[in-house]
């Protein structure tokens, strides 16, 4: 089961240069609060979906028992290097993969020395789980996947947790608005890239604070159009999280911090299961349980295929 879920931003500044601005410092403190909560919880596992790790061949699950590297961000290399050693739950990774396959997703585990873990995952694990007291498992974000596939991926994560009997915290690592400043910006000048991004971030945070996770998930397409640079086809992290957590608004939310990092919306938010739903709305998006693959525009509905031609009789 999931004890608690968190949204964490993935930029390296709160880890590498918190002293450079009060915004980075506040984010650093928020990460540390989340870290303390997780360490005090009964959780045995940190289950991560990172938008910073793109995949093409289905869904990749990082499950190397121990991995050591010195990471440098491809953009913010001047901020310094991040040496790390992380421990992953290999057994859970395998179970997660099996549950993905059972729901018709293409999935594989990744267990290679030197595999390039993404900046978001590295920053989060360094700050919230520095001593590797909990093991982690990281899921990639398929660049072509849309809602149905990502939702099913979240459900598969839930299946794996149920089968394992483990208690976990779930992390989605993602910026809200993700537009970086194009030019050189000093930490003091750092602010959300545009007023429009800022307003959409605030709207999302308002929903999250009320615990309206499924509402946020259902608003993801619009958020993608309005506040995201279209690097991938959609804004997916809340589809995964809501799929994992039962697609409801029955949560209690807390915004620990919200700041700008190099123009992006960096929010630290917690969501805890609650007894009653913040809003009990009728959701209008489909609720697939297995992935049915890509559908063409002209695909014929199941059960509506034309009758096959009768076979020619042998004469």
């Amino acid at each position: 089961m999931i004890n608690k879920a968190y949204l964490l931003p993935g930029m390296p500044h709160p880890l590498l240069c918190p002293e450079k601005s009060s915004a980075y410092q506040k984010l650093r403190q928020a990460y540390e609060r989340v870290g303390a909560e997780i360490q005090d919880s009964q959780a045995e596992l940190v289950l991560i979906y990172s938008t910073f790790w793109p995949s093409v061949i289905g869904h990749q699950i990082f499950a190397r028992p121990e991995t050591t590297w010195t990471h440098v961000d491809e953009e913010f290399h001047a901020l310094g290097s991040i040496p790390y050693t992380f421990q992953m739950d290999e057994e859970f990774g395998e179970l997660y993969k099996q549950q993905c396959l059972a729901r018709n997703l293409h999935a594989r585990t990744v267990n290679y020395a030197g595999f390039p873990l993404d900046t978001g995952t590295v920053v989060a694990l360094k700050l919230i789980n520095p001593d590797n007291r909990l093991k982690a498992v990281v899921t990639s974000s398929n660049v072509y996947a849309d809602r149905a596939e990502t939702l099913v991926l979240g459900k598969a994560a839930g299946d794996a947790l149920e089968h394992s009997g483990k208690k976990a915290v779930a992390l989605v690592i993602s910026a809200l608005s993700n537009r970086l400043h194009q030019g050189r910006v000093t930490p003091e000048e750092d602010r959300i890239h545009s007023l429009k991004d800022e307003e959409w971030n605030r709207k999302f945070l308002e929903f999250l604070e009320e615990g309206r996770l499924e509402d946020v998930a259902q608003l993801s397409r619009q958020f993608h159009r309005e506040a995201r640079v279209h690097k991938v086809n959609n804004f997916k992290p809340f589809w995964w999280l809501s799929g994992l957590m039962g697609q409801s608004n029955r949560f209690q939310g807390e915004v620990f911090e919200y700041q700008s990092v190099y123009g992006t919306g960096a929010a630290v938010v917690g969501l805890e299961p609650a007894a009653v739903a913040a809003r009990d709305l009728e959701f209008d998006e489909a609720d697939p349980d297995v992935y049915a693959g890509e559908r063409n525009v002209l695909a014929v509905e199941a059960g509506m295929e034309p009758e096959p031609e009768p076979e020619a009789q042998n004469v």
Partner: protein, 315 residues
């Protein structure tokens, strides 16, 4: 000092599959075979490159994606392990390469002079992106020529193709001027595929060629259109249709590598030589060479054969 010159320009795509299939000692996974037509194309490019007595390879890679301007490698030596985040099963490559930092800085300075946002990358722990490594390895597996590596400024996604191309035109010119001032003989590599829609599943034996074909026919038609323009020396027209091609064929030209190359070559009106075309996990890849010493050569529309009348013999 003698004026430097660009002695070769090439479209040199970076599917990790090609390195995997070739089994160089640096790559951990081993293959039985695969993608031979493309690899034979690279063999022909290598021969051309060897004849030109090149001092430096300048590579522009879509997989070093930066949002805060164009970045250049600024450390003389890199040694490390590159693991492809998308195909880690195919590419785990131990690299050891030298950088021509002097020329990097010269291009940086020229680009800055044209008003571009630029940065030198001086973190010695930086991991070289796999696009750079693969294009360089396939073009010159001896690794005995220093490189200049240029990041791909993500402007196409941040704004649009037109903005990206406007900046790449300047970067190409900055590269050309810097090469001329350097007195060096440079080969330029644009490290990108053409059409770029992948299959999202992989056969159990990745090099099983019975699974390999282009992802869809419209991509193929677009690739042929683009190659035809290259062969005819109509690169100005190619520049003009690049936004449509990129959108409709989901082409990897969104990274700007090809536009940068064509600009540095002053938009060749002489025919390019297509060494090979083939698909890799559904994407369209071509190995194409421009020899600036063939400036006088014209496309012959009647027999669709290029008449090579290189002035002054082999260079």
């Amino acid at each position: 000092m003698k004026q430097g010159e660009i002695v070769l320009g090439a479209l040199a795509p970076h599917p990790p599959h090609l390195v995997y299939a070739e089994n160089p000692p640096q790559n951990e996974p081993k293959a039985e075979c695969g993608w031979e037509v493309l690899r034979w194309g690279y063999e022909r490019l290598r021969k051309s490159l060897a004849q030109r007595k090149v001092d430096v390879l300048i590579v522009h890679s879509p997989h070093w994606r930066t949002m805060t301007g164009t970045h250049f490698l600024g450390v003389e030596h890199f040694k490390g392990l590159s693991v492809d985040p998308v195909f880690p099963n195919l590419f785990r490559f131990h690299y050891d390469l030298k950088v021509d930092v002097e020329l990097s800085r010269q291009i940086f300075t020229e680009a800055q002079g044209l008003g571009l946002e630029v940065q030198m990358m001086t973190n010695p722990d930086f991991r070289i992106d796999y696009g750079t490594i693969i294009s360089c390895h396939l073009s010159r597996p001896e690794w005995d020529i220093p490189i200049v590596a240029i990041s791909s400024h993500g402007l196409a996604r941040y704004f649009n193709m037109e903005v990206m191309q406007a900046v790449m035109l300047k970067l190409g010119q900055a590269t050309k001027v810097a090469v001329e001032k350097s007195g060096k003989r440079a080969a330029l590599l644009a490290s990108n595929s053409l059409s770029h829609r992948h299959f999202v599943v992989e056969p159990e034996v990745p090099e099983d060629m019975s699974f390999e074909h282009i992802q869809n026919h419209s991509q193929y038609l677009w690739d042929m259109k683009v190659l035809d323009l290259m062969k005819r020396g109509q690169t100005q027209e190619l520049l003009e249709i690049m936004p449509d091609f990129t959108e409709q064929a989901v082409a990897e030209t969104d990274g700007g590598s090809l536009t940068w190359l064509l600009s540095a070559l002053d938009f060749p009106t002489y025919p390019a030589e297509v060494h090979a075309y083939g698909s890799v996990i559904g994407t369209g890849n071509a190995i194409v060479e421009w020899n600036p010493h063939n400036r006088q050569v014209e496309w012959n529309p009647h027999n669709r054969q290029v008449e090579w009348r290189a002035q002054g013999g082999a260079q």
